[in-house]
Symmetry: C2
Subunit: 120 residues, 2 copies
DNA sequence: TGGGGACATGACGATATCCACATGTCCTGA
DNA sequence: TCAGGACATGTGGATATCGTCATGTCCCCA
């Protein structure tokens, strides 16, 4: 019969839906270069604390990122994908963002500021 | 300052938004193997005529597909991407779908039925 | 030229998304 | 134990999306 019927695009559509937003896409662009905590993303993207947390919640619910608690703050990083389609898509995206040298420098600068100054 | 500020993800987020839906993703999966007319997609995906047209309108507005009129009916195919990010993402997607041999057979069967029987 | 097929679109109710404001939770250091 | 910083979440209103039904447009053919 129809093979399209057996093609499960649910995981992929979930991923796409989560990435169908400028802010969340920029978050992923930054996270392509390393893990960052909420306040880093907040500052880098010029968002309110509330909004930053919300968007991360959406990305987490879609399985795009995963949190890691470290003392008082929470670091987010890209989560490994189980589904083959989402895996290849996210890899392609990270690869595209990974080529942006300027982004890498942004992330490094953010992480350097982490130590003594924390997230202030 | 921040390089993320200069990274324009608007075209990509538009693409992702359009693909953040199971039905539209399945349409793209089929169109990865060749152009199809509305009634083909309608039958293959088990959608109403109205809904099929709507979803294609969304994909068209996002620049994912483009229509080609041929007499009484309209064929849709994947549209070439101008933006680098959307180009690489869509290429990765088509590549992933392109590996699904069963899908290719589906499309061929649909196109074979086209000639005499039209879309009936 | 009139009818029917293929597709698009207006209207609309149901549902989901988005963002800000305020408040709540958890951890840390004094 | 208390204050404050880092995050999360309840609430609510504006806005957008989704799918259906009905209708409109365009094209082909008898």
């Amino acid at each position: 019969m129809s093979a399209i019927a057996s093609l499960d695009v649910r995981p992929l559509s979930r991923l796409m839906k989560a990435l169908g937003d400028e802010t969340r896409l920029r978050m992923v662009a930054l996270l392509s270069h390393g893990e960052l905590c909420v306040c880093h993303l907040e500052k880098a993207l010029g968002l309110t604390q509330s909004n930053t947390s919300r968007q991360l919640t959406v990305l987490k619910a879609a399985g795009v990122v995963e949190p890691r608690r470290e003392g008082s703050w929470v670091f987010y990083r890209l989560a490994p994908q189980l589904d083959e389609l989402t895996k290849s898509q996210l890899r392609a995206l990270v690869n595209a963002f990974g080529k942006r040298e300027v982004l890498r420098r942004d992330v490094e600068r953010l992480l350097r500021a982490k130590g003594p100054a924390s997230c202030k």
